[in-house]
Symmetry: C2
Subunit: 211 residues, 2 copies
């Protein structure tokens, strides 16, 4: 291993945190959280290890920051659009599921989920946050769409009774599959989405415009 001729220091206070987080994500993705080291992350970020301590407390803080950075408001935005929407509820479901599958296909989401599952017990605050900001919003949104469909006579009257997590399950299944079995048996996300829509719409007794 040749040592580089010159270290070539630079001061870039504003750019560092992001670069370090990116490096951490890559490291977690490759080695897993437990096996990742600050040295490895520093090397990947092109920085000396102590530099990390200037911006983050420890490895846990890196994961925390990554999770925070990942949180977006897309679900809330969709929900806000719901009021003004006048089209049929089946199309709404399609929109929602499509968006969810797209999110689940993002490698960053897969990595963070993997760590969250592995270390969740040690980060109860993050688990609560994630549940509240992602799961709960998604479930509520879906409930509202189903309820809307029932009121508008597009779905069967008893559709509102079922636990909507059964309906989103294929999204989580796809995410789970990517997390564990992707290497041994990939998954056609497009087809899963189409099949999910078929199953869900039929189960809800959808009488959409296309029938």
């Amino acid at each position: 291993m040749q040592s580089s001729p010159a270290p070539a220091r630079r001061r870039r206070k504003d750019a560092r945190p992001g670069e370090i987080l990116d490096a951490a994500l890559a490291e977690f993705s490759e080695r897993g959280f437990g096996a990742s080291t600050l040295s490895g992350i520093a090397r990947r970020a092109g920085v000396a290890r102590p530099t990390i301590y200037l911006y983050f407390d420890d490895k846990d803080a890196l994961f925390d920051a990554l999770m925070q950075r990942r949180l977006t408001d897309t679900l809330e935005e969709i929900r806000a659009d719901l009021d003004g929407y006048t089209g049929d509820s089946g199309a709404l479901l399609e929109m929602l599921f499509t968006r969810m599958h797209a999110d689940a296909a993002d490698p960053e989401a897969v990595t963070l989920l993997r760590v969250l599952i592995a270390e969740g017990r040690r980060f109860p605050k993050l688990v609560r946050l994630h549940h509240q900001r992602v799961m709960d919003v998604g479930v509520t949104l879906l409930q509202e769409i189903v309820a809307r469909g029932v009121t508008r006579g597009e779905f069967a009257p008893d559709a509102a009774e079922i636990d909507v997590r059964v309906l989103v399950a294929p999204v989580l299944m796809a995410l789970f599959w990517r997390t564990v079995f992707w290497d041994v048996a990939p998954l056609d996300g497009e087809k899963i989405l189409r099949d999910q829509l078929r199953v869900v719409l039929r189960a809800l007794g959808a009488r959409g415009p296309e029938r």
Copy 2:
């Protein structure tokens, strides 16, 4: 911390491995794989740390052995029964899903899955094995039941086209939920099962005996 008066050694070559594995499982469950130590496992098993090395190579070997021990042939047995069965396919689905949900509710399954997800990258052999012995068998079995239902006119003709992983998804969703969000928001497994059956049977266009 008082030191106990006497260690009270015993020699039980045949009982040790199982006890050590149980201790390892408990430790993994509480601390997670990464944070677990051989010292902790040994303490829990009532054994000195070097004793573990008499039976296992290292921490990885413990997880490997736990996964092997967990593998059962229940799915294969169900499949064997399939040939002789003469009842309707909807009831078959109910049997299968009930069994799967029961498996998914086992805390040992939850813990092992958590570790498999966390460290999967480092155990490609185990991932392949698990896919082949659990996932593949389950998927094939489900495909066969659906095909049977279609041939017997119990399910809609196009039912065989859908990816059956969409149909089992609620089982994986429940397992996933237990793995991550159980503490912050528990889950009614019974209701999930019932709803899954309703959704799946309707989606398959089931015209079972009860309609």
